[in-house]
């Protein structure tokens, strides 16, 4: 198995190559917002439970009504 082994990397390259014609130009990083973490809470404390906007607001977890 191994971590990030050559076979795995080769498979990723194939997937990326297939994506490129459709998405490559648009998704080469230029339009990814720095804060589009979309769920990885940057609050290291995990208390304010914000998801994505990281400004102390709560975007709600699944489970919060």
């Amino acid at each position: 198995m191994g971590i990030l082994n050559d076979k795995l990397m080769a498979s990723l390259q194939i997937i990326r190559a297939e994506l490129k014609p459709a998405y490559g130009a648009a998704y080469d990083g230029g339009n990814i917002s720095y804060y589009s973490c979309g769920g990885s809470c940057k609050d290291e404390c995990g208390w304010s439970r914000c998801q994505g906007d990281c400004d102390g607001t709560s975007e709600g977890w699944e489970g919060l009504p």
């Binding site: 390259q13 977890w61 489970g63």
Partner: protein
């Protein structure tokens, strides 16, 4: 995913706690409890200061100590808000150690589960949880939490004891039925993360977790591995403070005084430190940026920091503790391995708009950091 945007201030209802967990950094001053008059003033302030961005009302968080030690006060506050601010959308949330819930409380919380959510602190299986949290495992009614708030997660804190059991504990918590695990961070506890031994301890744990999360591909990753690697590929690096401390976050202590967030309070800091903290201009992002990290480190957008913990350990908001860099790199490597394996197994799990950058980031992380850990990974 529920995407409601709410103003979410917190009220500390008591400094008291019935436990004394191994990693707890709070002073538990028995005398400090919020009274109802103070609580009403805080609530009035909150409902009169809802920022424009909070389009979905207010989420009031209760913190302690252990907030359920003040169950009667919580009920009073609940009724007060219902009588005075019922026209404004609101919910309540409290983090609890889960050990004090008696039949009366359970009945009340079950009856109000749609507007009052309890979040549980749980460090894993019995052995670990008991070692970290005063033998309290058997006092927790997990089914009560799962039944009332099935989508809710738990907060897991690491200790030296739990680190070698990380994978087992995370699997255990998911196995109980909890979908989200937050915490699992490097900020809490008194670790010296520069110790080589932690690298050796963490590697097999991370390997096991990668395997588990690839097999269970729809499970939400715990906070340690849930790294949105693609943000490292962004060309729009902004000089911003990560969290809402002192800006979006509002924390009321038991006496009704406001503090920047739930960490930067008299429960954690001395009066001298608090003076420095309170004279800080939290809206000035520049005070929170480590220039070296910002300029030089590929992982900067992923490397989480709690400014409160940083100030606590190092008396600075900006200069990061570089003794954690190796561990951050190691975690990034395993997060990359995990995403790589999930993408190859089932690309449909990923939004097409991010896969391209995700793959670039995985390649980059591999090329930057794999060599450094090669000797341990063989």
């Amino acid at each position: 995913m529920n995407k409601k945007i709410r103003f979410s201030p917190s009220l500390c209802v008591t400094h008291r706690c019935n436990l004394n967990c191994v990693y707890c950094y709070q002073y538990h001053d028995e005398q400090r409890r919020m009274n109802f008059d103070t609580a009403k003033k805080c609530i009035d302030w909150i409902f009169h200061n809802i920022p424009d961005y909070a389009t979905d009302g207010v989420e009031i968080g209760f913190i302690g100590g252990e907030p359920l030690m003040e169950f009667n006060l919580l009920r009073q506050i609940f009724s007060y808000v219902a009588s005075k601010y019922n026209d404004i959308e609101h919910i309540f949330y409290a983090t609890t150690n889960g050990t004090l819930l008696n039949a009366e409380m359970k009945e009340w919380f079950s009856a109000h589960k749609n507007c009052f959510v309890l979040g549980l602190s749980l460090d894993g299986a019995k052995e670990t949880h008991d070692a970290n949290r005063c033998g309290s495992f058997d006092s927790i009614d997990f089914d009560f939490f799962l039944k009332n708030w099935p989508g809710q997660g738990v907060k897991m804190t690491l200790s030296e004891y739990s680190l070698p059991r990380l994978a087992e504990n995370i699997k255990f918590v998911h196995g109980l039925g909890f979908k989200h695990i937050i915490g699992v961070n490097l900020a809490e506890g008194s670790f010296d993360w520069s110790k080589e031994e932690y690298i050796k301890i963490l590697i097999p744990q991370l390997q096991e977790l990668v395997e588990f999360y690839v097999e269970n591909e729809t499970l939400t990753l715990n906070q340690m591995l849930d790294r949105k690697l693609y943000v490292c590929e962004s060309t729009k690096k902004e000089r911003k403070k990560w969290c809402g401390t002192g800006t979006g976050c509002v924390f009321f202590d038991t006496d009704g005084k406001r503090y920047p967030c739930s960490f930067m309070t008299p429960m954690t800091f001395s009066q001298d430190d608090l003076q420095t903290i309170l004279s800080t201009d939290f809206s000035n992002d520049e005070l929170f940026i480590d220039n070296k990290c910002f300029e030089e480190c590929y992982l900067y957008p992923l490397c989480p920091i709690c400014y409160g913990a940083n100030f606590y350990n190092r008396k600075t908001f900006s200069v990061r503790d570089k003794s954690r860099c190796r561990i951050q790199k190691l975690i990034a490597l395993f997060a990359a391995d995990l995403h790589a394996k999930r993408i190859v197994k089932n690309p449909a799990l990923y939004d097409k708009s991010i896969i391209y950058s995700m793959i670039n980031a995985i390649e980059k992380i591999r090329s930057l950091y794999l060599q450094e850990f090669q000797e341990y990974l063989l």
